[in-house]
Subunit: 418 residues, 2 copies
């Protein structure tokens, strides 16, 4: 079966000038990919008649589905609607249903409505009106010679709602889509090439209808399994069977599946075991605490943190000994151990985490160059430490330290739960 | 004078499937816009012969400059180089200089080199070889019928270095670019529509050769002034003259210019006045400390922080009185004042900052719904507080709280420096 081919056309001078990042096209790509529609091209053009008509023509020639975002505002700069009318050789007429919906939208928000807003309810005669419940510019659906078109506002949450409520189901109706199942295995603490080496036999033995993709991101590698076939249930079973095969080899690196993040996975583990954590951050400067507290409900297992940026406060607030700091320095295994134990005691938690390092770009020495970081996790009867040798980039070092420290906590929770 | 027209072609299946966000095209758009080159189209296509050749042909027909990113890896999936050779009707030959540079690159990193890597030094015969000092895939520059082409790797830091070191200067050489000056005024603490209302007379009175753009982002609005003319010096003077006119109206919101961020601006202010700060974060959970410590050299004015996530530690670690917590609750003006003073005392700094609120999505009440946040800044002889009524979104609330708290610090520094 041939895959359905889609093109995305994003319209707006502000995109081409780099004033606004086009997050829409990326999001649409992901969504379509999930239902087995193949995006073959994304085009970004300005609010310009000739560029827009050319893009429409090129897209129609190549694609089964054309998704257009932007250019639907109420002012004269916004050309998408009149040019679609021109392209489809039709006129713009009042859609009473659309005018009514826009009027209701303004009324519900207690806002004044202008003539320009009323005109947003006038649409190309041959289009199918698609209500936009969270904004004023309606969606418009067209069909010609087997190609389907949808025009949507560029505002991300309006576009997303129209995609989910209308476009995705509609594509499923007008085309016979392949049956696809996805499953994502989330790993941390191992690089892409090492992981690939570890699982190459399993990878080579995957059945033809299951594809594997490596998706690396900061300190993480996601393994995406995609199965193609006839029934979702069968595909799910096939995928689970393969996961069972590979898990013994990689289980120590796997923290979760699909939408899990490392912070979410750690939260689950701590809640399950009724344990609590506190953090003492020097070089990571609050970022680990931020990662943990970005998860709703984190107050159930996070008691607090200290950022003792100077040695004096490492001693004063979390009780690192003066001798240790003088003898080994702030960036040392000895110091991070005392920091982790100190913050665990201060907040009376089960686990204490700590970081100390040279985040850069300044502050490095021959012995401890920029990127040298020590981390520790302390709990009753167990202390684990790790030395990291990171990059020259301060922000990257902070983020990588955070991933490594959360992973160290994950390992310690597993060690102590046995 | 006609503007130089550029097109950006980003190549890679991983972009179309939504596995990777294409940040390159956005960055290139911004850079070109700064030197007066107009990006007329951005196209993203997969690693597919026909799609690539079509994109090349369409781009050549329309643009003066074509910038291609991606598809330059050493493996067979990477088609950009052979297809450029095909498109320009030339053969791929060894460029000894390029092979030498790649060999040196591997040697300097102590890594093994494969035959595939050597072949990265073989390039289309008619191209100009552009050394890539931070990676293995060389840049390639082509010219045909007045259109200039550059092919670059998709790895962002490699592409950026090639753009800055070679492409931007080269475009300046082969075209006569318009003379343009930009200046960005950075504001915080006022919404776009309020700001626009405040400065509308000034805006309407701007000379024809100076354009104004509003660029809003989380809690901030940037005002971008762009001047077109004959001499950079004259344009700079013209812009400064306009800034001087508008500044009295908006000075309380202006924290900096151009590449300044709020964190950088605060760092400068504190260093100038030889003052130091500490933070006590409840609802912002470490994010304010992270923002401050993300700036190199922040240890010169940041002493540390405490994240007393539970009331017990607000009392125990930073000395908030039990009575205040019981009487007014953790999310109250009284509590954040004591938190700010407490953390200032603990770290013995000039300024103490604090936050306490309902970040959500749970934890709201009728009296204190989700999004209710109190912040405070305390210093000798001055305490400033602010109540924020934010959104339903936890992460957004954390970020908005951080912007508001840093802005409160900025205001307090100004108040106390007089």
């Amino acid at each position: 079966m041939d895959q359905i081919r889609a093109e995305i056309v994003a319209i707006g001078d502000e995109l081409l000038y780099g004033h606004i990042v086009d997050t829409n096209s990326h999001w649409i790509s992901q969504e379509l990919s999930q239902i087995g529609v193949r995006v073959v091209r994304r085009t970004t053009i300005g609010d310009n008649r000739l560029d827009m008509l050319t893009a429409f023509k090129e897209a129609e020639y190549r694609a089964d589905v054309v998704l257009i975002t932007g250019g639907l505002g109420p002012t004269n700069d916004d050309l998408t609607k009149p040019l679609l009318a021109e392209y489809f050789n039709t006129e713009i007429v009042e859609f009473p249903e659309a005018v009514e919906a826009i009027t209701a939208f303004f009324k519900s928000r207690g806002r004044e409505m202008t003539t320009l807003n009323t005109l947003q309810g006038h649409l190309p005669k041959i289009c199918r009106y698609v209500p936009n419940e969270v904004g004023t510019a309606p969606g418009m659906w067209f069909e010609r010679n087997g190609t389907y078109w949808m025009s949507m506002p560029g505002v991300p949450h309006e576009m997303k709602k129209l995609m989910k409520d209308f476009v995705m189901p509609e594509i499923g109706k007008v085309f016979s889509l392949p049956v696809i199942q996805h499953r994502m295995i989330k790993t941390v603490g191992i690089g892409e090439s090492w992981l690939s080496d570890l699982i190459k036999d399993w990878e080579n033995g995957l059945p033809d209808h299951i594809k594997l993709a490596y998706l690396p991101s900061l300190g993480h590698v996601k393994l995406r399994l995609t199965a193609f076939g006839q029934s979702k249930e069968d595909l799910s079973k096939d995928i689970e069977k393969e996961i069972k095969k590979v898990l013994p080899t990689i289980s120590k690196y796997v923290y979760g599946y699909d939408s899990d993040t490392l912070e979410i996975a750690i939260g689950k583990l701590l809640k399950e075991q009724n344990k609590r954590v506190a953090v003492a951050e020097s070089c990571s400067g609050g970022f680990v605490a931020h990662q943990i507290t970005s998860i709703p409900g984190s107050s159930e297992y996070f008691d607090g943190g200290v950022i003792p940026y100077h040695n004096q406060f490492k001693e004063q607030v979390i009780n690192v000994s003066h001798e240790t700091l003088v003898k080994h320095g702030a960036v040392s295994e000895e110091t991070v151990i005392e920091m982790a134990q100190g913050v665990k005691n201060l907040f009376n938690t089960d686990f204490g985490l700590s970081s100390s390092g040279v985040a850069g770009p300044g502050g490095g020495s021959d012995e401890k160059p920029v990127g040298t970081v020590w981390i520790a996790c302390a709990t009753e009867g167990l202390v684990r430490t790790k030395k990291l040798q990171l990059t020259q980039d301060r922000l990257l070092n902070i983020r990588l330290t955070s991933v490594a420290l959360l992973n160290l906590l994950r390992i310690c929770i597993h060690k102590t739960s046995k």
